[in-house]
Structures are given as structure tokens and as C-alpha cells.
Symmetry: C2
Subunit: 373 residues, 2 copies
């Protein structure tokens, strides 16, 4: 790794300080910073400290409010609709997932929908938070309208991420988190920047929608769905549960107090579905049975050239453990951005950051300690 | 089309007669026949009358019981566990989805799990049945252990199908139904039989798990997941909700009274999740909003070389309308199989079948009339 590493607590405190300097209350700033550092720990740099630039820009432009007021639009018990008030998405997201867990424990299954939510960061943070409390969670989110339907050119959907987490007994939860597009647009941008001649099949089409592996011809305005029409079907479900069901914006329909629409839309919709395994018949031993399935997967014979067979999300889980010990390699561009914001906002430099609360494994907003595997 | 067409009611009655001759009660035989003909109408021939051979063989061998007794293992209101008694899967499947709809109306969300279920046919039949009643349904099912985890060689999973259906207002429901493997094994077998030199990228690996596009090298014991690790994650969720949560067989764990295990396993597990949109805040207008999204998709500009942009499942929906009018082209092999069983069981030939109940659009077990689009 060329990039110098930074420890998780130092990076977290630095991000928190920048957010606080923008008027974000300390507890909210700590939560947002934690979600970013958790993503960096898992190797999901697109959703890590890299996002500070976006948040700074949107708070300064007024498109994200620094003080988040989460309102209950209507509470029907097993279903609740929240309004994220165009504040920081993470604050509304944690409120939503915690409520979904509470209601699933009471009703067996629960669905909390959220509108006027902004960027949530990586969804794994929320689904894992539920699974750490013994509850199965599915988290879906829509967003700006720029990805075309399968076979089309008109931007209607977002990258429509989908995440779930499943509580095991002795193993850590199985945590899955994907964009339903084949790749994020910045992977194609990166290939263009590096001057790669070819990108893999299925990543992109050209501007007229014809499949291409030519990096030069690939259009980032025409992202493709993972697995073709099958991934498109998953993305459509996300749009419906996170956008339509939440009475939020979806497709070309705008339903937001935010003035920015379409591909610039800041307001997202989200859906947090929670199932309490213990509420299902025979569910008391669900986690133990899931352990057995995890063992089946982990003991499977690997294909030639594969070191070991992995669970969904295991790569990220294992990377997190390593980075907690060795630090997070931070891209030079991200480091420079953070330094610029810190200077502008009168925050001390990253290197001088002092850990305020131990490792990121502690504190109320944390996913908690993970078992070894 | 080379194959002579048969009308849906004639094919349905013929399949029903064969099943009745094996001791299946008339109402159950009619239901199973209807699910098969519905799949043939939608072009999903792998789940159509082609399956009669499998059912005949398994009823004769005693692995499927001709008389299906669906038992309630435990009823907790919003969650129920059923036992399909190793009878015909369709009978248990319809009982499960109807119960899930009823409970979703009462509780907002509901989960009905089923164990000791046998072959369900195409899952779209059940999810659409719920959506026709105004309820969002997700249907998941696991099965015999023969598909390896991503990057592995050991058979642990089935093709783990996933289906959903969403109720619209003036449009027909959006119905999605996929195997989470890239393709069914019989697509690879067919390529081998035809002597095709190459199969598409991502369909298969060789016996050592190395990706291949050589038809000769492709192993049908090592099916690949759609979209690589992302599809694998969806398949894992199916295994957990349909197998683990239902206290059914999963992975290498057998939990069945059936004597056949592993890759020969007949008993499946299933999970029917139902969400009543009307139980969600602002949910009364859900179907109208879904109509708007459907219109956005259908009016999107098509990519070059694409006739029109489709919704998930629209291809099957449109084919069904055409085949209801023009008949179902039946493969010669399927026709020959049906003729052999009919002769062995003393059932009249297919051509002489007489429609007993109008079109398949009528009757209690039917998904009902579809709006035009």
C-alpha cells in the first residue's frame, strides 16, 4: 500500500471535528464520522472519509441541514413513516433502524420507511446494527434519477443499494451490501483516468446503449445493472420499497421540499424491513442453525486459484479486522481534501488528531465487537 | 414456431387428468395443472408441462405423496410455520401465500414459512396471486444441495429462486421471478446437446471451478450465480429465509422425513413474506404511485437495437397474452412424455382433451384477468 495509514480513531475524530465546525451537533457528527470510518475499514472507500467533501459542499450550499430533525409522519405500530428533514441521512437512518428493531421485537416483522433522507453512507452500517441486536434486517434506498432501466437510455433510477444482515450465534453476522448497478460510476471514471483500454464485460454501454468494453466509449451516464435483467429486477424492487412505498421521490416523480431534482436530487427514500427470528416458530434456534450454514460455506472446497470460500461480506469483515490493527490507507486526494477543509474551518490537522473515545469498536453508535473467524 | 401449439385449457385438463390418474384429488390436480400451464404461457417451459414427468416419477416412487396434507406447525399471528407433508408443493404453496396475504392485512407485514414442501413450480404464480389481492409478496425457496458457494466446488445450495410481485392500480402487477444462478443447468445441457462450441461468459466453470466459455468444459455440477458475488449474496439470503428460518433443510443440514438427501433432496423450504401497502403510512395511494413509475419505465427511450424498454417480468406477461390467444408451442419431447404417461395411466390423448372450465383465466386458483398494456 503506497498511501500512509491512519488509525481509525484518529480519522474518525478528524471527520467529526470538521462536521462540528460546520454546525453539526457533536453526537450527530460522531455518528456520521463513525459510519464513514466503518466504510473505510471495510475497504468501501467510496463511502468513507472521501464523502466528507460531499457533505461539506451540501451543508454549505444549504442542501443538507447541519441540525437533523427526524419527525414521525405517522406511526401505525408495525409500520412507521419517518421524515429525515433533509438533515444528515445517518441520523435518520440510525433512528429508523433502531425503531425497526424495536417494532420487529414487538410485532414479529416491521417496516420503517423514511422520506426526506439524505446520503446514508454504506447501508451495511444499519443492517449490521440490527443483526447485532439479533434481528434480521433488509435495508433499501433509492436516490437521484440517473441510471436507465435495463435496455433504456433515460435516467430514472439511482444505483439503488440493497443490504441485509443476518444474526448468527457464535459467528459474526453475515452482512451483505451492494449497489444494484454492476459497478459504481467512479470505477469507470478511474479506468478512464488511468487510461485503461478495456473495462470488463457488463460494466457499461456507450451513449447509445450498446454494450461496450472500450473504456473510451463507456458512458457513466448509462450504468448497467449487475447480472443484466436479473439485477434490474432487484433495483426495481429497491425503487418501489424505498421510493414508492415511503411516499418519497421515485423515478421521475419528485416529492421533496428540496429544490434539487432529477439527477441532482439530494432527498432519498429508504425502507428498513426487520424480522425478529425469535418471533418465528422454531426461531429461537435460528442463529445456531445459521452457524451451521456458515460452517458449510467456510468448509467448502475452493475452486482452483481460490484461496478459500467466503461468505457474503466476509472480505469486508476480514479487512476491517486488519485495518483496525494496521490503520486505514487514505488516498492522497482524500487526505488533501480533508487538510483543505480543516484549514478553512480552523480544525487541527489529521496527524495531530487525538483519539477521543478509544477504538471505533466502542461507543453507542458502534456495530460492536466482532467475533473472530 | 416448429412445434404444434396446444390451447391452454386443453393442456391444463390433460395434465390434470394424468395427475388424477395417479391418485391426486381433483382440486389439487387442477391447481398443479394450472401452475404448469401458467409457466408454459409465460414461456418458462422448464416449469411447465415438462415437469409432469418429474411429478409422475416422484409420486410413483413414493417421494411425493399424491394426497397433500398441509399442517400448521405453529401459528403466532404475523408468523406461521406450515408443514407441506411431502405432498404436492403447489397445494402447500397456495395455502401459504393465501395465509400470508390474510395475515399481512391484519398485521401489516407477515411471514409464512413452510417446510416439507416439494416442488412449487414457478414462484411467480404465488407472488402474483398475492399482488392480485393488493399485497406485496416476496417468495423465496431453497432445495437440493448441489450448487457451490461463489468461488467453491462443494454443492451446498440449490438454484434458490426469488420472486416478488407488486400491486399496481390500472396496470397489471409487476411480477419478477428468477433463479439466482446465472442459468439453469438444462440451458448448458441443451448447448452440449446442440453441439454449440461456446456458451456466454459467466454461465459456468469447469470441474475445477475455473470460469469457461467452452461448452464441452462447462460443468452442470458447478452452476454460477447471476452477477457473480452479488447474485451469490441474494442466493444466500434465499437459503437463510427459506431454509434456515423455516426450520427446513439447508446447506448440508437435513431436516426432513424424506429419505432422499443432498443433491437428491425432494423436500424444500420456502418463505412467503407479505406486506400490505395499505398498512403503511400513505400506503392507500401506493398502487397509483407505482403506476407512475411503470409509466416512467415504459416511456423511457430505448437503447439502440432495443424495441422498447420493459418492466421486470413484462416479457413473460406479454407472451402469456399472446399464447392465451394462439396456444402454447409444446416441445416434441414433452408431447411424447405426456402421451406415454396418458397411455400408461389410461388417460385420453392430449388432442382429444376437452376444456372443462373455460380459459385458465377463470377459476379460484387463477391469477385472474390481466389489464392490457
Amino acid at each position: 500500500m503506497d498511501e500512509p495509514a491512519v488509525s481509525a480513531p484518529v480519522l474518525r475524530n478528524h471527520c467529526q471535528a470538521i462536521l462540528e465546525a460546520l454546525g453539526v451537533p457533536p453526537a450527530d457528527a460522531a455518528l456520521v464520522a463513525e459510519t464513514l470510518v466503518e466504510a473505510d475499514l471495510r475497504g468501501v472507500h467510496s463511502h468513507g472519509a472521501n464523502l466528507i467533501a460531499l457533505y461539506v459542499q451540501r451543508i454549505r450550499s444549504g442542501h443538507i441541514r447541519p441540525v437533523t430533525e427526524v419527525a414521525t409522519v405517522e406511526d401505525r405500530g408495525s409500520t412507521v413513516l419517518l421524515d429525515g428533514g433533509l438533515g444528515l441521512g445517518q441520523v435518520a437512518g440510525v433512528a429508523a433502524v433502531d425503531l425497526a428493531v424495536e417494532r420487529a421485537r414487538r410485532h414479529g416483522l416491521a417496516g420503517v420507511t423514511v422520506r426526506e433522507l439524505t446520503h446514508l453512507g454504506a447501508l451495511a452500517f444499519y443492517s449490521e446494527r440490527a443483526a447485532r441486536r439479533g434481528v434480521i434486517a433488509l435495508v433499501l434506498q433509492n436516490g437521484p434519477a440517473f441510471v436507465p432501466p435495463f435496455g433504456g437510455l433515460t435516467g430514472i433510477f439511482s444505483t439503488n443499494p440493497f443490504s441485509y444482515a443476518l444474526p448468527a450465534a457464535t459467528h459474526p453476522p453475515v452482512v451483505f451490501d451492494i449497489a444494484t448497478t454492476a459497478v459504481a460510476g467512479n470505477k469507470i471514471l478511474l479506468a478512464k483516468k488511468r487510461g485503461d483500454e478495456r473495462i470488463p464485460e457488463g460494466w457499461a454501454t456507450d451513449r447509445r446503449g450498446r454494450p461496450t468494453t472500450s473504456t473510451a466509449d463507456a458512458s457513466i451516464d448509462h450504468l448497467q445493472w449487475f447480472g443484466g435483467h436479473k439485477g434490474y429486477g432487484i433495483a426495481f424492487l429497491v425503487e418501489v420499497l424505498a421510493g414508492v412505498l415511503a411516499d418519497s421521490s421515485f423515478g421521475r416523480t419528485e416529492h421533496t421540499a428540496s429544490p434539487v431534482h432529477g439527477k441532482d436530487r439530494v432527498a432519498k427514500g429508504a425502507c428498513f424491513l426487520a424480522l425478529d427470528p425469535a418471533a418465528f416458530p422454531q426461531g429461537e434456534s435460528f442463529a445456531t442453525r445459521l452457524d451451521a450454514l456458515i460452517d458449510d460455506v467456510c468448509s467448502a472446497e475452493p475452486a482452483e486459484g481460490v484461496a478459500r470460500v467466503l461468505l457474503p461480506g466476509q472480505l469486508e469483515h476480514d479487512l476491517r479486522a486488519r485495518r483496525l490493527a494496521e490503520g486505514i490507507p487514505l488516498a492522497a486526494a482524500t487526505r488533501a481534501e480533508l487538510a483543505r477543509f480543516a484549514e478553512e474551518l480552523g480544525v487541527g490537522p489529521l496527524e495531530e488528531g487525538v483519539a477521543m473515545g478509544g477504538t471505533t469498536d466502542e461507543g453507542a453508535g458502534s456495530p460492536g465487537e466482532r467475533g473472530g473467524r
